[in-house]
């Protein structure tokens, strides 16, 4: 995976990059510079993503659009913690770096992959996942899912998904089995990292994707742990926010994937 295109200089990204360099030793403005950081490439990629989300969040803060509620999807938890006022920019960048480095250790023992499956519904895909010892790790819409597991399992699952009528099935490597129970094998180390931070009470309600409940400051460490070991339930979260009366969604991060998932969910309702 290539490093993403970052904002042009002079638009405020430099401040986020500086914070990232101070907090983690990695400067997103020089992602490929040899010897610039001891961090793994995968962690540097994640930090670029978090830094970009924080940059977009800062831009949003300068508008009149103050959100009534904040939610998140996977790595989006870091920007969400900043958006709701629970952690600061520097702290989440450091937290992302430490968690990313910790979970990447799992990838030293085994090759893992994600499998993006488009077009199948959950029931046949769950069967395919079971057949291949893979896990559904993102429930994005009724027909957009992400699998995770050992590389060979995901390759087999992707082939089986296409045979079963999936519109597309693409496997790509990852360095850790994120959002699977396999993360529980390093739970102690992760809890140690997560408990190193003080989480302030959210000033804006923070709704989690697991149970669609409003998290308190005391809930956040436990949620962060569960989040790493559990699937992301985006469709349920979006539908729940809709029912709560949310009418406008602003996506903060790379691309427009969540907005497109929302469009799909709306088209079925």
């Amino acid at each position: 995976m290539e490093f993403p295109e970052l904002p042009a200089r002079g638009h405020g990204f430099e401040e986020i990059a500086r914070l990232c360099a101070v907090a983690t030793g990695f400067d997103p403005l020089q992602p490929e510079e040899p010897g610039a950081s001891q961090l793994l490439r995968s962690v540097r990629l994640q930090l670029c993503g978090v830094a970009m989300s924080l940059f977009h969040l800062n831009k949003l803060k300068h508008t009149e659009k103050r959100p009534d509620v904040v939610t998140e999807h996977s790595m989006g938890i870091y920007a969400a913690l900043v958006a709701c006022g629970s952690l600061g920019d520097g702290a989440v960048l450091e937290l992302a770096s430490r968690i990313g480095t910790c979970v990447a250790r799992l990838g030293e023992k085994c090759d893992y992959a994600f499998g993006s499956i488009v077009g199948l519904t959950e029931t046949p895909l769950a069967s395919i996942a079971r057949n291949n010892s893979a896990c559904i790790v993102n429930h994005n819409t009724s027909r957009h899912f992400l699998l995770c597991g050992r590389r060979e399992s995901i390759d087999c699952a992707a082939k089986e998904a296409v045979s079963a009528g999936a519109f597309s099935a693409n496997a790509f490597p990852c360095d850790a089995p994120l959002h699977t129970p396999l993360i529980e094998s390093i739970a102690g180390d992760l809890e140690h990292i997560i408990r190193d931070y003080e989480y302030f009470p959210p000033r804006i309600p923070l709704v989690d994707h697991l149970a669609q409940r409003q998290l308190t400051a005391a809930d956040i460490p436990q949620f962060l742990m569960e989040d790493l070991c559990s699937p992301v339930y985006w469709e349920k979260t979006y539908q729940s926010l809709r029912k709560m009366g949310t009418t406008t969604f602003v996506e903060v991060g790379f691309g427009q994937a969540l907005s497109k998932f929302n469009r799909w969910i709306d088209s079925e309702s």
């Binding site: 993006s116 488009v118 077009g119 027909r143 957009h144 296409v162 999936a166 519109f167 597309s168 693409n170 994937a257 497109k260 998932f261 469009r263 799909w264 088209s267």
Partner: protein, 85 residues
């Protein structure tokens, strides 16, 4: 035959993908829809598949076929003309 379908296909793209502020005549008939051009992705592809099936009764069974069909508005119109019932 497929030429006549081109305005409708452009409107289908705008409606299915909810592209705000774009008029059909602003979509280049021969420009690539994915990557460059409109910059569509696999999430958009499935949305177009469903819309084409609903509007024209035409099926795009898989991503390999989709790569050919969704190469441009013209290729979409051609696929519809050849396959619609």
């Amino acid at each position: 035959m497929s030429e006549e379908l081109i305005p409708g296909v452009k409107q289908l793209i705008i409606d299915a993908l909810r592209i705000e502020g774009m008029k059909p005549e602003e979509i280049d008939t021969d420009a690539p829809l994915f990557g460059e051009g409109l910059g569509l992705d696999s999430i958009d592809a499935l949305q177009l598949v469903v819309a084409m099936e609903k509007e024209y009764g035409v099926v795009v069974p898989d991503a390999a076929t989709g790569t050919i069909v969704f190469a441009s508005v013209r290729s979409m119109a051609a696929h519809i003309a050849e396959n619609r019932t």
